[in-house]
């Protein structure tokens, strides 16, 4: 019990004093890169506080296990589809999981997939942004679940949206970090050079979502009713 209290106090201290101080000193210290620093800190804090929230609210072991299996499936997908360049089922699995298990589960699946698959593909400064990107795609999918279940057109639109959002999140930070302001020409160059990848990415999202939503959705629905999750 005392340990719990100490931990709680430490978390409070970190969130009220240490982190604001660190962010402020970084803001003063890093000159032109201060905006990149702020965005990086905000992203890390957002993901961390979402995990804390998850820790407080999610209680059913079954749901945790569903999230773990979906995360594992999307990481394995990244491995087994590696021979076909650009085809990754991560987004599709995150979105499907979010549609049937809610926005929070979607965020966790996306963020965890990024974290764990980077253990195999290489961590980097991009890891927090990947976690945030995939997480937020899952979160929105959870919020829009009813509409995504119904219309194929909306599903395709979401595949496009998630592909564009993902590369947007990654590129904006790169540009801000390199230039210290939103340099349009560098952003255009980055987006253009990433365009083939983004295109393959969008197509693979659409393919996986269209093929996968029905059968996987059926399985998830069944698991949900069978085990009362």
């Amino acid at each position: 019990m005392r340990r719990e209290k100490v931990k709680k106090a430490l978390v409070c201290l970190a969130f009220s004093i240490l982190i604001p101080t660190l962010v402020t000193v970084g803001y003063l210290a890093f000159g032109e890169r201060r905006y990149a620093w702020i965005i990086l800190s905000a992203t890390v804090l957002f993901v961390a506080s979402f995990f804390l929230y998850f820790e407080k609210t999610e209680s059913k072991t079954g749901r945790l296990l569903v999230i773990a299996s979906m995360t594992a499936l999307s990481c394995v997908g990244r491995v087994v589809f590696a021979p076909i360049p650009g085809f990754k089922p991560v987004t599709a699995i995150t979105v499907i999981c979010a549609i049937y298990f809610g926005a929070e589960a979607g965020f966790m699946t996306g963020a965890m997939s990024a974290l764990i698959s980077n253990l195999y593909f290489g961590q980097g400064p991009w890891t927090p942004f990947q976690m945030f990107g995939w997480g937020i795609i899952g979160f929105f999918a959870g919020l829009l679940s009813e509409r995504l279940k119904k219309g194929k057109a909306f599903l395709l639109l979401y595949a496009l949206f998630s592909g564009v959002l993902y590369s947007l999140i990654m590129d904006v930070w790169t540009v801000l970090w390199a230039d210290g302001f939103f340099n349009l020409s560098r952003y255009a160059a980055a987006s253009l050079s990433a365009l083939p990848f983004t295109a393959v990415y969008v197509v693979s999202n659409a393919v996986f979502l269209l093929i996968g939503l029905k059968p996987v959705g059926k399985v998830l629905e069944r698991i949900k009713t069978k085990y009362n999750l």
Binding site: A68, S69, C75, V80, G122
Partner: protein, 314 residues
């Protein structure tokens, strides 16, 4: 021998985060050079000089590309070298490109060291301290991955034998892969549900009633239900050495940040190249940060020498 790996995971995390943050956000060439060279030597010590040399062309190409393209995006600076399409290509932008390239490559190399040193058990340990549920998901997923890859190949082999797996075009390959992949999903989820039932049966996450305390021979009435503390498996011990590493890292991080903010460690490329000023504070920053960046390499070398010496004595 991988001596640096033997530090406590918390110390290692502090080390990598502090060095990476300074490396990525500073523009001071001395700090950048220290971090880049230190990280490269560290990677060489971890994975052998061969790996470093075989990766060198990639890094050099990336370096050249980043450094040379920067003047195309940025026209700041007061010293134009020549004009291209009516836009000035400035000396400052070129030098800023070099600094940017050094940072990018330093960060990449340091992250590879991170992957080599911070194995999944260490990340799991760190997660466990922060959040048990998050770490449960993490550990489960880490265990599922090799299992699922094995299963994937089992199903794939079975389908290949049945003659269902023959196409060579991309669309066929995608189709077959997707079919095998989809067949794994119900299998995995049912399996996970069995695991969860088994965990519930063994009391995972249940409140455990503490034995009633006996005070002065009387039973105390109001017994609180408390969550029994979940233990975790770890082989890591926090020693004074680890505390020392954390202290040095935080010290270097702190004085670098304060130096950048207030004490002339900062460096500007635009509009005019700044000058490196050598003050007591900046000298201290260079010395401490240099010590921190070269420490892993020195530890590895020392350990290798000790190993060699011991072997030769036998």
């Amino acid at each position: 021998m991988k001596a640096f790996k033997n530090f406590h995971p918390v110390s290692l995390a502090v080390y990598f985060l502090s060095v990476l943050t300074v490396l990525m956000f500073t523009k001071n060439p001395v700090l950048q050079a220290e971090a880049l060279v230190g990280a490269a030597l560290f990677l060489g010590a971890l994975q052998g000089v061969g790996t470093l040399l075989s990766d060198a062309p990639f890094y050099l190409a990336l370096f050249a590309m980043t450094a040379l393209t920067n003047p195309l995006f940025s026209h700041n600076g007061v010293t134009p070298l020549f004009f291209m399409n009516g836009n000035p290509v400035t000396l400052e932008a070129l030098l800023y490109g070099v600094s940017l390239a050094a940072t990018v490559i330093g960060a990449l190399i340091l992250c590879r060291c991170f992957c080599d040193v911070m194995t999944s058990d260490k990340i799991l340990y760190l997660a466990m301290a922060a959040s048990p549920k998050f770490s449960l998901v993490l550990s489960m997923a880490l265990r599922f991955i090799p299992m699922l890859v094995k299963r994937f190949h089992r199903v794939e082999r079975a389908q290949r034998t049945m003659g269902l797996y023959s196409g060579k075009s991309v669309s066929d390959r995608v189709k077959f892969h997707v079919r095998v992949f989809l067949s794994m999903i119900p299998w995995t989820l049912e399996n996970a549900m069995e695991t969860s039932a088994s965990m519930r049966a063994r009391g995972y996450g249940k409140y455990i009633k503490r034995a009633e305390k006996i005070k002065n021979g009387k039973n105390v009435k109001n017994v609180k239900c408390e969550k029994k503390k979940r233990t975790n498996f770890s082989l890591f011990k926090f020693t004074p050495r680890d505390a020392a590493l954390i202290f040095v890292c935080l010290l270097s991080f702190g004085i670098s940040l304060l130096g950048e903010a207030f004490f002339s460690v900062g460096f500007e490329y635009y509009p005019r190249l700044g000058a490196l000023r050598l003050t007591a504070w900046s000298a201290a920053v260079y010395a401490v940060f240099g010590a921190v960046t070269f420490m892993p390499f020195l530890i590895e070398v020392k350990e290798a020498l000790v190993w060699k010496y011991c072997v030769s004595k036998i």
